[in-house]
Symmetry: C2
Subunit: 649 residues, 2 copies
């Protein structure tokens, strides 16, 4: 039983069930409601422990009377899992000292109070660790008790700030109340929260459509990708591809003999999840590819797709890891009445659960051993949630710098839960949010609610599975608009190769699948074809690197635009003096104009002061005055919008 109540600690997710996420270098702010009966003064602090630390560190909490709440913070100086909690105690000396001051001011007799104070100081002296402090405390108590000196001198001795500080340092509280939960916090490396991704199929990177590309072919693209400002090169599965029930071009069931198949049908006689498709080159070539990317400041992300083709070695070696039917056959994937005979799902709750889960974990360790620190996880929502919580913890407790991106296109609650269970980043519904209302509602949930504590959206403008209607029908301007949105709304965004060439032909009307999808065939393109999107990508990625406001997550705010076709939002980083306003014309077909309402207060401006904004896309400068300003954006000039940086006088 405690004297003090400690509750309402934030951040806290689901009563402490799940960790909050932050980036290394962040200052972690904690708030708590702390109170007790009566009028005694309380003192409180945060206890926190970084990864690998056994001793608690402490940071003070200060009382904010206007909110009747306590606040404090500590710096996150290393990556990995942190723990923290809050504790409070009665500040007996502070209470006594405050009361004494009031009684003295009211001219009351304080003889008994002086004796009480001396007792408190002596008790503190008994617990003090250092002889010097003990002596000083005892001397003070002695003086406060000393009836041979004037009362006023005794009072003065009791109220010196030096004595106050000395007691505070050495006081051992007798009623420490610890918050009933020890909370967790996962701290990631910076790239977990700020990066531009580029997805490419290595097999499509030869110069000859008839020739299967290799890692060396793909490596030739690295210098240019680095120049364009990408941070992560994501490769779909690079493993041997199953031959049984292999899919043909455009997902047909009747492949030609030379069809290459889907990389997600993993495994054949050449190996499974820890093998490389021989046509891409040996593992040494993969290692060189990774090193070459690293040398250019980028890293390589691999796909982690836990499913097997019927000719995957595990099917022979561990049939018990699959679902076996009464007739002894292994169950292929299905969503009745649809059948996916080229894929065997794993049975995560099989009798050899431990063996299977360890094998899945060891796949990650294998690739980590080959320099991969980022995994894009295929369809995690079709595998047990318990598995993800376990495997991510297994990996990150050894390698806290490993990043997991969840490709969980499922219901919102499942998507959120995967993030809570440990996924560093998540794919989102961004591709399907195209109106101002949809974008604003979705982004406000993601950045302004509790979601911002654990969910980091990564805004892919397209994927090999998703060519949205907006891109199919909006022409190159649609690609510019979506690129500008993805890259400035969130610090994490990505494109799948072909986007820069405005590829927009679906396999059939109404489908979001690409015609001649790279999932089933080799596609060779001229990456520098005239008019491509690369110059805009390069400008945007440079703006993102040069402007701290674009590297943060919860600083997004939407502001009023008088035309619903034009979205207006800000991202500011006042500590870095960085103030950005984004204006985007969502209509890829027609010019639109609007009055935008600039949030002067947020920018630190007063109503009639003129100010200059510079468009980081074009270099143009505009001088604005007051909060309401005119903007016109015309698709015919290839202008999707502005990234306006406020210039400070």
């Amino acid at each position: 039983m405690y004297t003090i109540v400690v509750e309402g600690v934030l951040p806290e997710l689901d009563g402490g069930r799940h960790p909050v996420k932050r980036l290394v270098g962040d200052v972690y702010e904690v708030g708590a409601d702390i109170y007790r009966d009566g009028h005694d003064t309380i003192a409180a602090r945060i206890r926190h422990r970084g990864p690998g630390e056994e001793e608690w560190r402490q940071s003070p909490l200060a009382y904010e009377p206007a909110e009747d709440r306590w606040y404090g913070s500590f710096a996150l100086d290393r990556i990995g899992k942190w723990h923290y909690t809050v504790e409070a105690w009665t500040d007996r000396f502070g209470t006594w000292r405050g009361d004494l001051e009031k009684k003295v001011a009211a001219g009351q007799d304080v003889t008994p109070e002086l004796l009480e104070g001396a007792e408190l100081i002596e008790a503190t002296a008994r617990r003090a660790w250092f002889g010097e402090a003990r002596t000083a405390l005892r001397a003070a108590a002695q003086r406060i008790r000393d009836t041979d000196i004037a009362r006023s001198a005794r009072i003065t001795a009791a109220l010196t700030p030096e004595l106050h500080a000395l007691v505070e340092t050495h006081y051992v509280p007798d009623d420490v109340t610890v918050y009933d939960k020890e909370l967790e916090l996962y701290v990631d490396r910076p790239r977990a929260g700020f990066a531009a991704w580029y997805e490419l199929f290595p097999r499509s990177q030869s110069l000859d459509p008839k020739q299967h590309g290799t890692f060396d072919d793909a490596a030739r693209r690295i210098p240019r990708l680095a120049e364009l400002g990408y941070d992560v090169i994501y490769l779909p599965p690079v493993h041997p591809i199953g031959r049984m029930f292999r899919k043909g071009k455009n997902n047909t069931l009747t492949p030609e003999p030379d069809d290459v198949g889907s990389p997600w049908a993993i495994g054949n006689e050449n190996g499974g999840h820890t093998a490389i498709e021989p046509a891409l080159g040996p593992i040494e070539d993969f290692d060189r590819f990774v090193r070459f990317a690293n040398d250019h400041g980028m890293e390589v992300a691999l796909d982690y797709a836990l499913q097997c083709a019927p000719d995957h070695p595990w099917v022979q070696d561990h049939p018990e890891w699959f679902h076996v039917r009464p007739d002894g056959t292994i169950k292929y994937a299905e969503n009745p009445p649809k059948k996916y005979q080229d894929i065997y799902p794993l049975n995560f709750w099989c009798d050899d659960r431990e063996g299977l889960w360890n094998a899945c974990r060891d796949v990650l360790f294998y690739w980590i051993g080959h320099g991969v620190k980022t995994f894009r996880v295929d369809n995690p929502h079709t595998k047990p949630f318990a598995f993800w919580e376990w495997v991510i913890d297994e990996v990150q407790s050894k390698h806290p710098d490993v990043i997991f991106l969840a490709e969980a296109f499922t219901r919102p609650k499942k998507m959120k839960n995967l993030a809570k269970l440990g996924f560093t980043q998540s794919y989102t519904y961004f591709t399907w949010k195209n109106t101002a209302f949809e974008l604003r509602e979705y982004l406000e949930e993601m950045t302004q609610t509790e979601m911002a504590e654990y969910f980091r959206g990564n805004f892919f403008v397209n994927t090999p599975d998703i060519l949205h209607e907006y891109l199919q029908h909006g022409g190159p301007q649609a690609f510019r608009v979506r690129l500008l949105l993805a890259s400035t709304l969130l610090p994490l965004y990505g494109i799948y190769s072909g986007y820069e060439l405005y590829e927009n032909v679906p396999v059939r009307p109404g489908s979001e699948e690409y015609m001649h999808s790279e999932k089933y065939e080799i596609r060779v393109r001229d990456w520098e074809a005239p008019g491509n999107l690369n110059p805009m990508i390069q400008r945007i990625n440079r703006a993102r690197r040069e402007n701290p406001a674009l590297q943060r997550y919860p600083n997004l705010q939407f502001h009023r635009s008088e035309n619903d076709q034009i979205l207006f939002y800000s991202k500011v980083a006042p500590d870095a003096g960085n103030y950005l306003l984004m204006v985007v014309n969502l209509d890829p077909h027609r010019p639109q104009e609007t009055m935008v309402h600039v949030p002067l207060e947020l920018l630190g401006l007063t109503e009639h002061e003129p100010y200059t904004v510079e468009d980081l896309l074009t270099g143009a400068r505009y001088t604005w005055r007051s909060s309401r300003n005119y903007v016109r954006l015309d698709p015919h000039s290839q202008q999707a919008g502005h990234i306006l940086r406020l210039e400070r006088g």
Copy 2:
């Protein structure tokens, strides 16, 4: 590790730390988010246990696709502490059956599926409790396996609803996931949630101001109070009153010899918290008073004020229960530089904590033994929160019908925490909420947010400590307005005697204390003085009893009124066909008029349908049409507002 995720269970307070409150007879609604990986069907239920029950009872949860959430309920058929949680499992037979239907419809070969189903049914048979069910299940499996009969007959056998029901009844899930918290729910008797309180000082109930009133004097008022519709008679402390540092009239420090003192300075040579002030009569008279009130359908609430006068027997017998100063004296109450020398606070964390706490608890048991089931607790926020949680649980685990009302005029977080720790009801800031904005904001928090799950406000219009400025300056009309608000905004309200006589003189300008406060002297009044408020009180209490909508807590809704001086709100009970609209003129001085916007949809009305409302205060009837209607309220006609009941065609 679980396959299934069960989370987001509501109601749940602070992660299960505190119980939710309800009334007996309520249906308890529970919601939960439940999901697993993949497409398998889930089944789920609530497990709940009433007070004294050892076995869990079960209620089904049903899936609501629009919200991706599960809902269920159970009836609260007894008072006391309930427990509940949620559990879910994979519905393997349902999944199999659904898939089979789809495959059959698609004309696929389902031979292996039939074998899988037969295995499932046989496994269920092995766990079935009754031989008959076992036999039926085995026969069904046999038929599904039977290759001698037509495939279509086997399929038909697999899909019969009878088999489905039989398997559902006897299936023992292999992956039950239980929500990780067992939640608590406290169910009170009806009067805990709906009552009109009346506070009186028994010593003021004689007919002669010079004579100390007795329980018998007070008993003479019972028939009339019952007639007026009160449910609870609350008595300030009835114990012997301390003589040392006794306060004189108007809280002076210089009492006359015959001054009666404050009843809250408890204890003298005649006894302490379990004694009766001799001038009120012996304990037998108290018992008779309680019985007489009960016979009139009312109950008696006592004050529980844990503090002692210096001449309380505990000071002699248990000096260790108080704060002893270094000079050996006992510490009186203070709020420096203010001193309260007539009161010794108890030291709840003294070395004999257990002895003191038990003694405090036994005071309650003593009065419960004398028929008292409701306690108004004086200043609970100045005693440890841990004590309240302990003592309320000690009492209610033996006497679940006991009600505790917290008089905690403290900061909101402390007030809320006391409610969470077990107080049945709470005093509120109502007296200080006088504008439409303040009332609406406060009531919406209390009835529409999580607060409604645990906090039951009791709206006292005045107390011996609080005569609000609004009443001091608003004349009798102010008393009518506040009465109408208190009694119709919440199901619990109270008045302190004298209110019905419009007593409105403060001890000095700017004070909320009464002149000649009954706290320090005997006040004899003519309770039926001409023009008193009793007729209105009687009409209101009758309306409250006859209209279920006024007996409920979270059904309050505010609606638009075009004049801020007129508050417009509804309380509806659709299941009882009871629809009420309240219109109150907050201005006690001037007539006000407005257009009120009737919430037609809430009342089940369409736009142009005429409808009749009856004023339960006057009997007047008005026919309205459409949502916007005119109201005028004039203080000169003594009209504070309307309680309008919709008459259904």
